[in-house]
């Protein structure tokens, strides 16, 4: 269970000479850029939550806060009742995080990349070995396990990144635009992975721009616009908003109403 309430995060705004061009963004004032102002959502075990929103809406910032990389200025975030802001080190053991821009260490082999993160999570050597064997079998990675990451194809790297994300058996999985820039087959690897984790009863959040992914996998939808939650509810509720069954219409109407 993931619960997020009233999350807010501001950054020191860069000083621009052309102030007028930036003054249009309602989130910038007093020398601060309020990237996230009020974001709330929840995701129950076995549910997949799709995080939608235009570019620059605050999705990445929200997910970074949830993954403990950034500290919010206000709000509460809990994972199975554990306050991740109070005990980030403990929370990290329970979170699997993957973003579209995540890379691998090119000079380490696929297996070494995955094992490295297992060791960082303090996994006992024999446990780590068993977990690795299992994941490499599941994701069919054995044939390139000992190749250096530099020499892997995009699809292989994708599998490797997935194995790395879940090596420590996280209780929740957070994916930040995982399919952005991937070809259809590489994206499919990821979507299959999301489906398999849903079946395991693990709550999963992912942000995306592809509405068909939402349609296929998500139970709940949260739309962020200008740093605020513009919609949060089930996929069925979301569908009704557009007065048709098309998610595209629903999304556009939510963003338009918000402005």
């Amino acid at each position: 269970m993931i619960e997020v309430k009233g999350l807010a995060k501001r950054f020191a705004a860069p000083v621009h000479k052309e102030r007028r061009a930036h003054a249009r963004d309602p989130r910038e004032h007093d020398g601060w850029f309020h990237a996230v102002r009020d974001v709330s959502f929840q995701c129950a075990p076995g549910e997949v939550l799709g995080l939608l929103g235009p570019n620059g809406a605050g999705k990445t910032t929200t997910l970074r806060i949830l993954s403990t990389a950034l500290r919010p200025d206000a709000g509460v975030a809990t994972i199975n009742g554990l306050d991740i802001l109070a005990t980030p080190l403990v929370a990290r053991q329970r979170i699997g995080f993957l973003s579209g821009s995540t890379g691998l260490y090119g000079r380490l082999s696929a297996r070494e990349n995955v094992e490295y993160f297992g060791r960082l999570h303090n996994m006992a050597p024999d446990h780590l070995k068993r977990r690795c064997d299992l994941l490499f079998d599941q994701l069919q990675m054995n044939e390139f396990a000992h190749k250096r990451a530099d020499h892997l194809s995009t699809g292989m790297r994708q599998k490797c990144a997935i194995a790395r994300t879940v090596i420590h058996e996280p209780q929740v999985v957070i994916l930040d635009e995982p399919t952005t820039g991937l070809d259809v087959m590489s994206a499919k690897i990821l979507l299959d992975f999301i489906a398999s984790y849903k079946a395991l009863g693990i709550p999963l959040i992912f942000s995306t721009h592809h509405l068909h992914e939402v349609e296929k996998l998500c139970d709940r939808v949260c739309i962020i616009n200008h740093g605020k939650t513009a919609f949060s509810g089930t996929l069925a509720d979301f569908r009704h908003l557009g007065r048709s069954d098309d998610l595209y219409d629903a999304f556009v109407s939510v963003i338009n109403e918000d402005q």
Binding site: L98, S99, Y105, R107
Partner: protein, 398 residues
Amino acid sequence: MWTVYFKELLELVRDKKTFIFTVLVPIVAMPLIFGGLGYLTSTMFKKSEHAELTYAVFGKEHAPQLSERFAREKGFREVAVSDPALIKQAIDQEKIKFALVIPPGFEESLDRHRQVAVALHYNNAVAVDLTRKRVTAVIDAHNGALREAALSALNMSKAELRYALNPIKLEEHSTAGNRERMGAVVGGFLPYILLMVCLMAAMYPAIDLGAGEKERGTLETLLLAPIPRTQLVLAKFLVLFTVGLTSALLMVASMGVVLSLFGDALGGQVTQMVRAMGLLDLFMVALMLVPTAAIFAAILLSISIYAKSYKEAAGMISPLMMLILVPIVVAMLPGVELNWFWSMVPLTNVSLAMKELVKGTMDYRMFFVILLSTTLIAGLLLAWCRWWFTREEVLFRN
């Protein structure tokens, strides 16, 4: 923490570029460059000292004795030039190296015990003026002969003669041993090379460890691993520290081996100096490198983690190299010696201390003060680097 440390080292070992910079450059390239340069300089000097000097004399008939002396001199060869007006042209065309113009009435003036001037034409736009040195030597010899002849006409005893020639003679007694003299020369540029190698070796890994992780997109994942930031910074810092120090120490060792094997070819005095330097002094030079490598590691890591990409990091580190050079070059200036003032200037003090150690004239109280202050600075920089690593503005600049 050690997980991170060993993983980073493993990655570096697998990288050819780092390997070349860390191991090959200090062990092979540096001694080769400096040894080769030293050998070249000494042979070129010897060669030009014995090289044939072509010259022309005008007014030979006015001074037969002097001309004969030049003709007899080894390594001088007379070339005929028709007209004194063509001297400049002949020198420019490298037909002759210099020309002497002897005025009429040369011998008569000398017989009347009057000074005469002989004009020397040559091109003195060179760094080391060997032509003038060699011509002066010949003239000096002739002057000596004339002087003696003039004075012996006065029927003086040998002792009186010496008095007349040089009333006061300066006797030089050097208090410096062989090691100290050579140490002043070698110790001047040794810290420069050592510190540069230390910095250069750590530079590429530094970019890889900070900006590289950002560019590859691995930093975010690493920050989400359940290890405290302090340990993360410490691990990365230790990697750079290890690389920089290893590289510098390898160079000391390799230089030592090269000098003890081929030292005789480069000049016996250097070899003697190296032999006079005990293991203790070498150890102390190495000890000086320890906090210095730590300073470099902390600075490089801070810059690298701030940069968004390899390119930006490289761009920011190049001016730093220049900046770090300044205090090291200051130590090579004449008049800058190790005293309490200079022992307070970071990096300059380390360079000076290394020089004193090579010379064998180290004030050991000062050594410990420098060691302590440098360690302190390294510690402060590391603490700053750690704080720097916790800032979201630095880690997520994009």
